[in-house]
């Protein structure tokens, strides 16, 4: 179990991470998700002992790590861009950890073989690291990090420098490796797909703080702030006005009680709501509006082929009661990632088959349960 309490990190005068709390259960995969420069990597360096926190404590399996040097901490760190020792062979890189920890040559050999087998690189022991491909380097770096059998494995953007096909392949393999190791994993990335796919828990970081932490599906269904929603790729956001009984949106008014729970604590007044992508559907010409849905009409602007589906961009023409929200300098707007564009309201809808030629009129059904209120952005 990894537990961080009130961690503050700073380079010289610049505070990078501020009184941050974070924990990861034994054997769990925790993904730190956030834009570059939000302090993710610095946090990993602090856990590894490469940076000293200004304040706060770090506990690993109940032991306080304060005062322990990096080489005394029993953690593994896979560096961004791998940081392989260029003057050593694959086996020398992987065996480095066991060797400097004073294990006898036979055990070093055994650990090296084991780690290389785990990442599927058995047989490459004697190659020089500068002769390896990008994917092989990534695997060697992983093998090197796990060879000393750390109590905690940390990976800093491990797939960052690889091409997309390789990313997809390695992403599929990583869960098996993590399962085989059984250690707690902290995985840093700026790619929401990686995080949602790998993590037991995702912590979204912004400007040195955790904005929200939870299991991937909960984050997706109930992002807390516009930032979290946007970072997860939920960019259909609307300005809304909330009172105790109803939610006024530019698309129409929703009764408050039909909106999902977990929003009770929200303030009344102007804020934003997110439309989950699967909640917007194209209605057939004669199809009745299903119960619990809100119907809008609009004009198809664009039709994009997305492989397994089509994405229609629809300019909404039916004006709901809350249309004034679009122009009235809505609530916590300002992120730039929302459904409004120059006073017009644009929605993305999934479509299958022939439907939705550009310029044609369409009707959309919006599932009310897919409308989720966001907390006003306190740091916009």
């Amino acid at each position: 179990m990894l537990e961080l309490r009130g961690i503050t990190l700073a380079y010289d005068e610049t505070v990078v991470v501020e009184s941050l709390d974070l924990s990861a259960d034994d054997g769990a995969v925790l993904c730190l998700l956030g834009p570059s420069g939000c302090g993710k990597s610095t946090l990993l360096r602090a856990i590894a002992g490469l940076e000293a926190p200004r304040a706060g404590t770090i506990h690993l399996d109940g032991h306080d790590l304060a005062g322990l040097r990096p080489d005394q901490r029993q953690v593994g760190l896979m560096f961004q861009e791998h940081a392989l020792f260029p003057h050593r062979t694959v086996a020398d890189n992987v065996g480095f950890g066991p060797r400097v920890r004073g294990l006898d040559p036979d055990t070093v050999q055994q650990r090296t073989d084991e780690a290389l087998r785990l990442v599927g690189l058995a047989g490459t022991e004697h190659r020089r690291v500068d002769q390896l491909s990008g994917g092989e380097r990534q695997r060697v770096a992983l093998a090197r990090a796990v060879a000393p059998r750390p109590q905690l494995l940390m990976l800093d953007e491990p797939l960052g420098s690889l091409d997309r096909a390789l990313q997809t392949r390695l992403l599929a393999e990583l869960p098996e490796v993590f399962a085989a190791l059984g250690t707690t994993v902290v995985y840093v990335t700026h790619d929401q797909n990686e995080a949602l796919e790998l993590a037991d828990q995702v912590a979204v970081m912004r400007d040195g703080r955790i904005e929200q932490q939870g299991p991937p599906d909960r984050l997706w269904r109930a992002p807390r702030t516009p930032f979290v929603a946007s970072f997860l790729g939920l960019d259909q956001q609307l300005p809304v006005e909330v009172d105790r009984h109803e939610i006024r949106t530019p698309l129409g008014v929703l009764p408050r009680d039909t909106v999902s729970e977990a929003e009770d604590a929200l303030v009344t007044g102007r804020t934003r709501a997110v439309l989950l992508p699967e909640s917007i559907r194209l209605l057939g010409a004669e199809e009745a509006v299903p119960p619990g849905h809100l119907a809008v009409t609009g004009t198809v602007l664009r039709r994009r082929f997305r492989g397994d589906h089509l994405q229609l961009t629809v300019r909404v023409t039916s004006q709901g009661e809350g249309a004034d929200l679009l122009t009235g300098g809505a609530g916590a707007a300002g992120d730039g990632t929302d459904a409004t564009s120059g006073g017009a309201l644009l929605l993305h809808a999934l479509a299958l088959g022939e439907a939705g030629e550009p310029g044609s009129e369409v009707r959309l059904a919006i599932d009310r349960s897919g409308v989720h209120l966001l907390a006003p952005d306190d740091r916009a």
């Binding site: 080489d71 560096f79 940081a83």
Partner: protein, 573 residues
């Protein structure tokens, strides 16, 4: 020509003239450097070797045997070797921690300090010698401090004419070589490599030994080789600080020529030194080739950080003490001594230096020595730039065997002693035109010493210009002339200025060759300093110090200008 052969010939047709044109262009570019090297380096050196092996015009290997078995020659060779080895080891020991501090630690005043520690390297050896003479003599501030501390009973420390003085001066002189070469690479090493080793369980020392040290080896080997060459062929420092029994081969060549008039001895010594230098260069080439590792380098401003913890702060403090004590104090003493007169502090020495009357020691007004130095320095810079730029262009144009050969041939003067060159001028340059009495000899000799530095500065820059830059400019609509003006010139232009600064600093401070070829009535500043130091009296010594300060300022100014212009990796020397 048969009909059948024609199509094949036509297919090859367009390539052949192009290749021929390239070859012609290369040969054209190389013509001047080859003539220059041949006339002013190969011929004089060959003449020396011939003189040594065949004093009477006939090959007499007996002379060689006589000199080599001569016990006094043997002791000179032994002294030369061991002092060079000890100087190199000492310099590495003192300067490697300094390289770390100046490249990896961030602290206030770092940039200024980095510029300051480079000053000794461009200082003329004569100035270095006189600075240590002032620092280690009986009237030095060290002794003054001892007297204040212990009263009249204090022992007087006089290290003049000792090996200690020579070794200290060598460390002082070469500190910057190690700091610049090793620090240059160190600042580009990815710090995460060491971090990775630490997280994997290596202690700080182990991470350094197993990761950083092997990756630094090429730079350490390179700097060690350079320091060894410089100290093995050390002349000005040893001439001033050494004494009986403490002479390098270089100094012995000078003595054999000017005092003993034993040309066969001088020639054989020069030959001996040439062989040793070439052997050292060959070993160094082998070593660096083996140590070469492909590695990813990072931007130097991302690797520096403020010292944290006791070890880091201790390192910083220790290095600051070394830099202030060893590197900066001789410079300070130089200035201080230049202000000492028979009646306490004053500007007498400076006034006399700049006065317009002919000095009896110098045979000319001191101001004229300054003028000579500047004039010769500028001429030598022009010659070195032209020859060096032509050679570097040829070497970039075509990577054939010919240019490779010239490339390496141009580096040989770097390892050959200046005294050998100067001596060679005197015995060889009577044909086809008798140049031996000409004032032209001084800038020519200085240019020969400076040319390798020009080539070393320009070559990496010329080779690094991405061909795609030119292609991009051409596609964007620039004519070939415009491409040259907009792409090549701005990049090479700065390198040329850096090379010019180096050449000038080297030429102005050059002593070993100049002392041979400068005519009595046309002394340069280093020659004037040496003459002044050879005379007794507080006034002469003070004037030498003033002139040394002036010379140090001139070369330091050239260096600071280079530092401003330095782009990326170029011009490490």
């Amino acid at each position: 020509m048969s009909l059948a052969a024609r199509p094949a010939g036509m297919r090859r047709g367009p390539r052949r003239p192009q290749r021929l044109r390239r070859l012609l262009a290369t040969v054209g570019l190389l013509a001047l450097p080859v003539v220059f090297l041949g006339w002013f380096f190969a011929w004089p050196v060959t003449a020396i070797v011939w003189q040594g092996l065949a004093p009477e015009g006939e090959l007499q290997l007996g002379v060689l045997g006589r000199v080599i078995t001569d016990p006094s020659v043997r002791s000179v060779a032994w002294f030369t070797l061991w002092q060079a080895v000890v100087s190199t080891v000492l310099t590495l020991l003192v300067a490697l921690p300094g390289a770390y501090t100046l490249s990896r630690q961030e602290f206030r005043g770092r940039r200024a300090l980095q510029a300051a520690v480079t000053v000794p390297f461009v200082l003329p050896t004569v100035v270095v010698g006189s600075a240590f003479l002032a620092l280690l003599g009986p009237r030095s501030p060290v002794n003054a401090a001892l007297v204040t501390l212990l009263g009249d009973a204090a022992p007087t420390l006089d290290l003049r004419r000792t090996v200690t003085a020579i070794l200290l001066a060598h460390v002082f002189f070469n500190y910057a070589v190690v700091v610049r070469t090793v620090g240059g690479l160190w600042s580009l090493l990815d710090p995460r490599l060491e971090d990775a080793a630490r997280v994997l369980g290596a202690s700080r020392w182990r991470a350094f030994r197993e990761v950083t040290w092997p990756l630094l080896t090429p730079a350490i080997a390179a700097s060690a080789a350079i320091v060894f060459l410089f100290t093995f062929t050390s002349f000005g420092v040893v001439l001033i600080l050494g004494g009986p029994g403490r002479a390098t081969i270089e100094v012995e060549i000078h003595r054999a020529t000017t005092q003993l008039l034993d040309l066969p001895l001088a020639s054989t010594l020069a030959l001996l030194q040439l062989v040793a230098v070439l052997a050292a260069l060959a070993v160094y080439g082998r070593l660096t080739q083996r140590a070469q590792v492909q590695q990813r380098l990072v931007a130097s401003d991302t690797t520096r950080r403020r010292p944290r913890g006791r070890v880091e702060r201790g390192l910083l403090a220790g290095n600051l003490v070394v830099i202030l004590g060893l590197v900066l104090s001789p410079l300070a003493v130089l200035v201080e001594r230049s202000l000492v007169t028979a009646q306490g502090y004053g500007l007498d020495n400076w006034r006399r230096l700049l006065a317009d009357d002919a000095d009896t020691v110098l045979a000319v007004p001191a101001a004229e020595a300054v003028r000579n130095s500047l004039l010769f320095g500028v001429s030598a810079t022009v010659v070195a730039l032209v020859v060096g730029a032509l050679a570097a262009s040829a070497a970039t144009m075509d990577r054939g065997r010919l240019t490779g050969l010239v490339d390496r041939a141009l580096m040989v003067p770097l390892g050959t002693s200046a005294v050998t060159v100067g001596f060679g001028f005197l015995i060889a340059l009577d044909r086809p035109v008798d140049l031996r009495g000409s004032p032209l000899l001084v800038p020519l000799a200085q240019a020969l010493i400076a040319t390798p530095f020009v080539v070393r500065t320009l070559l990496p820059v010329l080779r690094s210009i991405d061909r795609r830059l030119r292609e991009a400019a051409a596609v964007l609509g620039a004519s070939p002339l415009r491409v040259w003006r907009e792409v090549d010139l701005p990049i090479v232009g700065r390198a040329l200025l850096v090379a010019a600064g180096f050449s000038f600093a080297i030429a102005v401070g050059e002593f070993g060759a100049t002392v041979f070829v400068a005519r009595a009535n046309l002394p340069t500043m280093p020659v004037a300093i040496f003459r002044l130091l050879g005379r007794p009296g507080v006034a002469n010594f003070g004037q030498a110090m003033a002139m040394s300060t002036l010379l140090a300022s001139v070369t330091a100014a050239a260096l600071l200008a280079i530092d401003r212009l330095r782009v990326g990796q170029i011009g490490r020397f």
